[in-house]
């Protein structure tokens, strides 16, 4: 999951270690009212987004396949159009708000069902479905615009 959200092997390794170390250190706070793997997912998501925030704060650009995904970067459209739909989708995914990325990654990369996503994110099952619906609509729009 981390790799799919960072697309960088080295960063993935570092963040993976951080996830497990944080989990180990914070195990006391684990209340046991959910499965361990859902708890780990939550830590992993927090770790990834925290990392991204820090990178953004330091002015560093997160690149995917060597091409910046940030829309503000110089003339990205030209670059993007040359790429396949598959790559484009992944780039657009990173442009979505955090709450959209989370459900998308959990559902379509991690194959979590609604109930699991609901536990990981702490939202009702109905919200999972409606959020996925909105997320796909947004993603579809973004992709369509770029193509």
């Amino acid at each position: 999951m981390i790799y799919n959200m960072t697309n960088n092997t080295e960063i993935t390794r570092e963040l993976t270690q951080e996830v497990f170390i944080n989990a180990w250190r914070g195990f006391k706070s684990f209340r046991g009212d959910s499965a361990v793997y859902t708890w780990l997912y939550r830590i992993a998501l927090n770790t990834v987004f925290k990392y991204r925030r820090e990178q953004a704060r330091e002015g560093k650009i997160i690149s995917i396949d060597g091409i910046t995904h940030l829309a503000t970067e110089g003339n990205p459209e030209k670059v993007l159009i040359k790429k396949s739909d598959r790559q484009l989708i992944k780039r657009m995914l990173y442009l979505l708000p955090r709450k959209y990325q989370e459900v998308l990654v959990l559902r379509y990369y991690e194959d979590c069902n609604y109930s699991t996503i609901s536990q990981i994110l702490g939202i009702p099952i109905g919200t999972v479905r409606s959020r996925l619906h909105r997320t796909l609509n947004e993603l579809g729009k973004l992709v369509k615009e770029k193509i």
Binding site: Y3, E10, R13, E14, E18, I89, Y108, L132, V143
Partner: protein
């Protein structure tokens, strides 16, 4: 139209295989007659197909797993845990396996007579290092006039770092109501069952601080004067050993030594089984690092009133600074105030 909106929402559940049988059948029937919904479904499935195809998996390298294991096993245990050592254990208690030792000096002094004695070497007198003194309880004093409660010998060691070796002498051997200290313990103890303590070679090896100190630590036996109200104690070596809290009727004060290494949280039973504890006692913690900033919690309550001199690694928690300890199990935990940083290992 209202129904149409409902089906639009169901499409998401449909592609996620999260509809009930009834919902799925309803939608499938609707799709037969609604081209718009059918197109939306197809567009969504197409997008999802592409999205799923972007999923990539990588193998977690062994070194990452190794690093995680290193970081989450004892090697990476925060230094805090390693830093708490009650070195006295080696001196006072031979059984290294003992996790918690609450060594108390417990005497019913109504009929007993206790005298502090010590014999020390001249070299130690000038040492700034700590001294070791053992308080022994004699339980079967042969003298007809003396009676002691305990069968077993109770030991207590005190550690004190004297910044001024020639500090003032507080008590005088001549004062009957104070603890008397004699260079020759045999003078006083010959007729009484007082065992003397001698630090073992093993103890020196185990304790870095001790290994640097002369191996001629004074053996000492401490007895209390039953009539004493003030138990200020100082050996004639001139080294200030420490001040023992005032005596209370029926017993002399006790030190409680929690003798467990490497603990972040420890449990101890108060009082030690089979012992009688005076109301005044101290819990003494020795930190490896004098600069360590810590928080101490007893039974979930943060302890704020404890004695720690500046830059000292010794912490005294007096019984007057904590709520009265009820009999039974108690929890003492220590934590650092500062978050430890996490170290990552780079490949290669």
């Amino acid at each position: 139209m209202k129904n149409h909106k409902r089906f639009e929402k169901l499409i998401q559940g449909y592609v996620d295989n999260a509809l009930s049988n009834k919902e799925r059948l309803d939608l499938e029937n609707h799709l037969k007659s609604c081209k718009m919904c059918e197109e939306k479904l197809k567009a969504k499935e197409k997008l999802l197909q592409k999205l799923r195809s972007t999923k990539e998996e990588i193998q977690c390298p062994d070194y990452v797993i190794d690093n995680i294991l290193k970081s989450t096993t004892q090697k990476e245990v925060p230094s805090l845990i390693r830093s708490y050592k009650i070195r006295w254990k080696y001196l006072a208690v031979s059984a290294a396996a003992v996790l918690i030792v609450i060594s108390t000096v417990l005497l019913n002094i109504e009929d007993s007579k206790q005298i502090f004695t010590t014999k020390g070497s001249e070299e130690i007198q000038k040492k700034e290092a700590f001294d070791e003194v053992e308080i022994l309880e004699s339980t079967d004093i042969s003298s007809d006039k003396k009676k002691v409660e305990k069968e077993e010998e109770k030991k207590l060691t005190m550690r004190s770092i004297s910044k001024e070796p020639d500090a003032q002498k507080i008590s005088s051997p001549e004062k009957k109501k104070d603890f008397a200290v004699s260079e020759k313990s045999s003078d006083i103890t010959s007729s009484e069952d007082i065992r003397e303590f001698t630090a073992s070679e093993e103890a020196y090896e185990k304790i870095p601080m001790l290994s640097k100190a002369p191996k001629t630590l004074p053996s000492a036996a401490i007895k209390s004067d039953r009539s004493g109200e003030s138990l200020t104690f100082e050996p004639e070596t001139g080294i200030e050993i420490g001040e023992i809290p005032p005596a209370i009727p029926g017993g002399i004060p006790a030190f409680m030594v929690i003798s467990e290494e490497n603990f972040k949280e420890t449990r101890f039973v108060f009082p030690e089984e089979g012992s009688v504890v005076g109301k005044d006692f101290e819990i003494v913690l020795i930190l490896e690092n004098p600069e360590e900033k810590i928080e101490i919690t007893l039974d979930g309550e943060k302890i704020v009133n404890y004695t720690r001199e500046k830059d000292s690694n010794v912490i005294f928690i007096g019984s007057d600074s904590i709520p009265p300890l009820e009999e039974g199990l108690h929890y003492l935990s220590l934590s650092t105030k500062e978050e430890k940083s996490i170290t990552f290992y780079k490949e290669g």
